[in-house]
Amino acid sequence: MSDWKDQVEVMVHHGKISVPYSWTVGSTLSKWYVLMRDRGEIWANRCPACGKVYVPPKIKCNDCYKDMADWVKLPGTGTLESYTVVHYSEPSIQPQEPPIIYGLVKMDGADTAMVHLLGEVEPEQLMVGMRVEAVMSDQREANIFDIKHFRPLAGGEA
């Protein structure tokens, strides 16, 4: 059907949609971020029915569909379940210049994993099963970057 372009110059109009949003953080994540900002701690919440511990915390348990009233403090350490080294650049969405290392970290004391940046590590050192710990930011603003990144745990198999 595109034969028309042999007879007519193909025109392209460029545009950009820029719309501001203000997303409310809600009951559960607000509490999580405030604890992170004010105390420099990572907390999780636990299903009262099945005991599953979620981090980041959730408003309800996936399995039981129950409110998650119990909160538990996590030690901030965990095990690397997966990772990737991103080589491409996409400044509109990326928080830093590539290469960027992302990790899927199974947090000690929790049943779920968290995606975050990995730092203070060379790509060659990365291994699934590696022990890592959260490094908190000095300047905290109650958002996901209050955790600066995860890094290999000093002393390895702690």
């Binding site: 059907m1 595109s2 028309w4 372009k5 193909v10 545009g15 949609i17 949003y21 997303w23 953080v25 809600g26 994540l29 979620y54 980041p56 959730k58 996936n62 379940e81 997966s82 990772y83 990737t84 080294v85 991103v86 080589h87 491409y88 996409e90 509109s92 969405i93 990326q94 928080p95 960027i100 992302y102 899927l104 779920t112 994993a113 968290m114 995606v115 975050h116 940046l117 790509p123 699934v128 099963g129 958002n143 996901i144 970057f145």
Partner: protein, 380 residues
Amino acid sequence: MERVAIIGVAQTKYEQNKPDTFAELIYDVVSRALEDAGISIKEVDNVVSVSSDFWDGRTISSMAISDASGAFGKDITTVEGDGTFGALYGMMRILSGSFGCTVVCAHHKGSESNMRGITNTAFDPLVERRLGLDAINSAALQARRYMDKWGVWEEQFAAVSVKNHGNALRNPLAMLPMQISVDDVMASRKLADPLKLLDCSPVTDGACALILAAERHAKKWTTNKKRVWMKGVGHCSDAFRLGDRDLADTRALKQAAKKAYAMAGIADPVKQIDVAEVYDAFSYMELMWLEGLGFCEDGMGAEFVERGHADFEGKLPVNPSGGRLSAHPVQVAGLAAMAECVLQLRGEAGERQVDGAETALAHGINGMCGQSHCVWILGK
């Protein structure tokens, strides 16, 4: 229960930078699908469109293509997800008794926007979005988790890419027909370790339309040769957040397949299914989905491909169209998989025809890393 048939299909050629507008693409595929069915737009009483507002760069993106889809003066409704889910909704509308003939159409022009920017907005703006996650780097986390869980290696992912790009050589609609080797895939540019350029599906433009009809109409309007029955369907979704799932687990797909197989009377999928179009957005995904669909045991997808079972000449050809690795118009892709299955079942698939295909499986996914799945069994 009354049955529903697919009585007409049409697809555009899949390519980048298509000069046609969304409405032009939709008008092209809907009018050709009607012609294929041998009916006019007058017989159609409703339209299900499939599109995504963020990709289209406009809200209520179905409204802009409603005239072109033939919905003027009729009812149009939209599925924002893969085309397989649009077909599900289209079938349900007929089974409800409210409608007799449904157009399901999907359009996508990935090359008009920015894939990484768009897919980043699928993540929670309160948590993961600001980290810069997108379709490729989240898939990379899934690929590595799958490798680690089952001891699969990158060369085994590459073999899927080699097979599917090779299959595309027989499909004139595919965008990336290529004779390549495992070494070519391994040497292609690293995007997000372990994924390389040739492990990833391309940004693609295109459109597809299906005409669905209630049995009473289908038998009146079309010959037996044209009719393909929607014999079974199943769908299921997993947790939204990546860390809430085991990314190497295919439980949502297993549920979806189980429901579709039960409805269609499939007890032994490898024996009873003649051809499958499986959602290979990334090379590794085909291996995981082969397992989830029950074509082999968990962790054995790579061996299934290595032994040639999924080859064009294998015991269960998978993605003879070239798959999503050879053309990936998002949202259109699952509908295109169904259209390909229809052509196979009618014996109209040209050079990519699988001999004697009588039962076909089409699979679509929605959400990052295959959060939700829709499985179709189509048959004569």
